[in-house]
């Protein structure tokens, strides 16, 4: 596998009059001595095309870094070099190994984002090619590239499919056009879970078509292509929703999962709740807002960083929370009971 990655990388770089050693020349030691340097990106995953760029991840001891990429151009090839502190990388690995964030009792947006970024980081290392490393990191990278990560990615996408599925069914009452997007995302996540089981772990869904082809999932590829269209008229939206939902239900065992999952609603970032003379104002960034007839019973500070409402997977939220969700005032998570 390593040799195949190297040949692929060499071939791609040669089209830009570069060799792998040129990538190493972009690595600076101003952030600390590199512990491990990998080339990663869609090219290393086997999908990239001539317009693809290349990412170089550099792990250093320094923990005071941003992930702002340092961009350079070699023979027309864009190379983004990113630096990560070793502590951060090890913590990300630990987080992913400990199991999906959906297994937490409470899943806030902050935790979701933290886990997602950790998972994304690990999948980049999984698909990356080692350009150089200190001896103590040889084994570390090898043990990242194994099936434990594949099952974590598959698990992630399965839960996410459930989350989008739930959103789609809540939204269809008031916004069928948007619900169609949600149900398609539920399908894309479900398909991503399937290909992850076969080792296709990179997260971006734009490569889902290539991953499905690589896994020879002919039927699933057709589902994907059908879902990529967007229904325009009301009639088309109803048919689309029904068709795509049936695909999701074929892929995700919701009959089984529904008994172990619950949903939680949180205030979205920027939300504020104010009450004035019996009218409740739920606003976001002091710009968009929803006016409710009655006080929803939350004081100024009570709604911050806590679950506003929750229920078993197929339970509907109370109308007021459903409305707030449909107006993008509430953030949805799905957790295992």
């Amino acid at each position: 596998m390593a040799q195949a990655d190297f040949e692929w990388l060499k071939t791609f770089l040669s089209k830009h009059n570069c060799v792998p050693e040129d990538l190493l020349s972009e690595v600076e030691d101003v952030y600390g001595e590199p512990r491990i340097v990998i080339a990663t990106g869609s090219i290393l995953s086997g999908f990239g095309n001539k317009f693809s760029d290349l990412d170089v991840f550099v792990v250093v001891e320094n923990s005071n870094l941003t992930a702002l990429p340092i961009t350079s151009y070699k023979g027309g090839l864009r190379v983004d070099t990113e630096y990560y502190g070793v502590d951060r990388v090890f913590n990300q690995e630990k987080m992913v190994r400990s199991g999906s964030c959906h297994r937490s009792q409470v899943l806030s947006r902050d935790l979701w984002v933290q886990y997602y970024r950790s998972l994304r980081s690990m999948t980049r290392f999984y698909d990356g090619y080692r350009l150089s490393s200190k001896p103590e990191f040889f084994d570390w990278l090898d043990q990242i590239k194994s099936c434990w990560l594949e099952s974590r990615v598959s698990e992630w996408f399965t839960y996410e499919s459930c989350r989008h599925y739930l959103a789609a069914n809540w939204l269809k009452k008031s916004n069928m056009r948007l619900a169609c997007n949600s149900i398609s995302e539920a399908l894309f996540s479900a398909l991503s879970a399937k290909v992850a089981e076969k080792g296709q772990v990179i997260l971006p869904k734009k490569w889902l078509g290539e991953k499905l082809k690589a896994c020879a999932f002919v039927e699933y590829l057709e589902m994907f292509k059908k879902a990529l269209r967007y229904p325009v008229s009301d009639v088309e939206q109803e048919c689309y929703f029904s068709d795509i939902e049936s695909f999701v239900l074929k892929l995700v065992d919701l009959d089984k999962l529904q008994h172990s999952l619950s949903w939680q609603l949180w205030c979205s970032p920027g939300v504020q709740i104010d009450n004035i003379k019996g009218e409740c104002i739920v606003s976001r960034w002091n710009m968009r807002g929803v006016l409710l007839d009655s006080d929803i019973g939350l004081g100024q500070k009570e709604y911050m960083d806590c679950v506003i409402s929750s229920g078993k997977f197929l339970e509907q939220p109370e109308d007021v929370y459903g409305q707030l969700f449909a107006n993008d005032m509430l953030w949805l998570s799905v957790v295992e009971n």
């Binding site: 999908f47 095309n49 001539k50 317009f51 693809s52 760029d53 941003t66 992930a67 702002l68 990429p69 961009t71 151009y73 864009r78 947006r109 979701w112 984002v113 997602y116 970024r117 996410e160 989350r163 989008h164 739930l166 959103a167 939204l171 916004n175 056009r177 948007l178 997007n181 949600s182 995302e185 869904k205 734009k206 490569w207 889902l208 078509g209 290539e210 499905l212 590829l221 994907f224 292509k225 990529l228 269209r229 967007y230 229904p231 325009v232 979205s268 970032p269 920027g270 976001r284 960034w285 002091n286 710009m287 968009r288 969700f325 449909a326 993008d328 509430l330 953030w331 949805l332």
Partner: protein, 182 residues
Amino acid sequence: MLLKTSFTVWGNFDMNTVCDIRRHIALRTQGAFRLLVGIQGFLEDVEGGISARQEELVLYQVRQIVLKSLSIHSLALGGELMDQKEQDQVNFDYFLGLDKDIVEKGLKLINRFADCYEPKEKLLEELRAFVDQAEDVLGFSEKLYVLRSPQGFASVLRLAKSWEELAKSKNLPSALPDEWVL
């Protein structure tokens, strides 16, 4: 909703008034970054995918381009400031406040790519025009830099610094990708 009036005062000096300054700033900062960090890269993917005959990559990214372009129009008309950066939101409404015509124009363009009856290169030009229409909504006098170009990244970083300070002064969310600051 932005209300702009233009009239001549004090000789040749033109002035626009807006009734919602915070939304005006949010449109220009958030809207610009939806283009710079999202749409510009997606367009490159479409070009590369057409060249490499990666049909599903093309379709997926066309869909993302149209939805994000519509969200820029929506941002000018009362839509949500904070767009999906990492698919954490499952209820972000790309269409909020939009006329049926522009929505249908965008969605039909997605489907024309999927139908494969027309040459992709011709459709790509229409897609670019759709993106340009969204960029026009931002109201800048010049086209935005191309972020993913040798000069573009540095130029955008300089702009971003001043925009961030402005947005912060108005208690608006940051438009920058979190990775740029964390």
